[in-house]
Symmetry: C2
Subunit: 252 residues, 2 copies
């Protein structure tokens, strides 16, 4: 059994702890978090500590905290012999270089505690400072997911940036859609089939081929009417900028 300590209690730490507990070769032997109360009660079978001096010896330490705290948590593990990794998309592996064995274990997905995720479909991007460590991360990755890839710090940064566009920004557009529905006394439910089909479409078509709508057709009349209908200045700005970007992409 390969022993794992999880450091953190946020969304990634929570889902990773759950998923690793369900593997046959890895065991979460401890969760460290400064506020024990923030550790989800469903993880209560796993020993937990808020005291850095009580962190146990393990084969693998997974730092799953906000980017700004990786450095601090890393410093608490200075005397540890195991492999130390973080789970951040936008932080270089080098932040852990004071350790002998270090790497990155980045699951590319959006996590919320209230939603169960199927790890088997999540791409896991791994990186390590030695082949031996890379191989351990590969074994862990494959015990969770069918898609484990070696990705450099530089590529991972690009991936994280792309993820902001296709996930965080996309979700904000959903939020605007929901607001417009509300203003028109319509349920957000009516948009759901469209949202799902828009996502599913790019599983088989490149997004540039899937593009439709007034901006692509350069349908000025519709765009003008839409701008008039928008009640919030910020929504107007977003409408203008994205329409312009689409127009530019598809014009000759």
């Amino acid at each position: 059994m390969i022993s794992v300590v999880i450091l953190g209690a946020g969304n990634v730490a929570y889902h990773l702890s759950k998923a690793i507990q369900n593997t046959k070769d890895f065991e979460v032997v401890q969760i460290f978090n400064r506020t024990l109360a923030n550790i989800d009660p469903t993880l209560s079978t796993i020993p937990a500590t808020d005291n850095p001096n009580d962190i146990v010896t393990a084969d693998l330490y997974i730092i799953a905290v906000s980017d700004d705290f990786i450095d601090h948590i890393s410093s608490l593990l200075l005397h540890k012999k195991g492999l130390i990794v973080h789970t951040s998309g936008s932080t270089s592996m080098k932040i852990l270089k004071t350790h002998e064995s270090y790497g990155v274990f980045y699951p590319l997905q959006t996590f919320s505690k209230s939603r169960t995720v199927d790890f088997s479909e999540i791409p896991i991007c791994i990186e390590a400072n030695s082949n031996e460590d890379l191989s351990l991360l590969n074994v862990l990755g494959k015990s969770l997911s069918n898609d484990v890839q070696e990705v450099s710090s530089e590529q991972r940064k690009g991936l994280h940036l792309a993820a902001v566009f296709v996930c965080n920004f996309v979700n904000h557009l959903y939020t605007i859609g929901a607001e417009i529905c509300q203003e028109n006394t319509l349920s957000f439910d009516v948009l759901k089939p469209l949202i799902v089909e828009t996502a599913n479409k790019v599983l088989t078509l490149p997004p540039s081929e899937a593009q439709t709508g007034p901006a692509k057709r350069n349908d000025k009349k519709t765009m003008k009417n839409h701008l008039k209908s928008l009640t919030q200045k910020e929504h107007q700005k977003i409408y203008k900028l994205l329409s312009k970007a689409i127009k530019k992409t598809y014009e000759l």
Copy 2:
């Protein structure tokens, strides 16, 4: 059997023709299009014409053309007795008011010829100038979909605008994501599970609760690094505007 003439050969006309042909109570008796060659070959069993004088008598005429041509196609049907509807999200029902019986049959979905769509899940928004006509549209709607709603022209305009945000604009963000992947020699495939989960998440969570990412956390360091990584000015502008909008939505 209720007879239907479809006017148009674009994506909506194509998918509607196919779906109506599969109902037991409705039959597409003719497709009218100015360019016969644009009618998909898989619809060749349906009689077609490019001559306005040859448009046959039918119970229902569905004008499925670009918004700018609805008026013109409507004028070709002036002497017809049947119910005349258009399929546009952003055009008022009143554009057809020169006819005795008129209405709107708006399927809220993104259509591409290369993709089969399951009509049963598509919300169909109907409107008509009489209860009798509304009832006919309701019967047609229900023979295609489980979700038929009476929606006013004003509400439909709002819906179409919301659809631009959650479909057309979202798809452009996917396109940017694909470009960033390419720049980092990564396959767009790696983003697909994230894209699908981001869409599926809002089926059960309101999008405002599903929001994650650096802008929501006001993680300035990550946002600054992202802006530096973006190679295109336009992508930087989109990043800044959407991050600002998210920040504003979630700040106290």
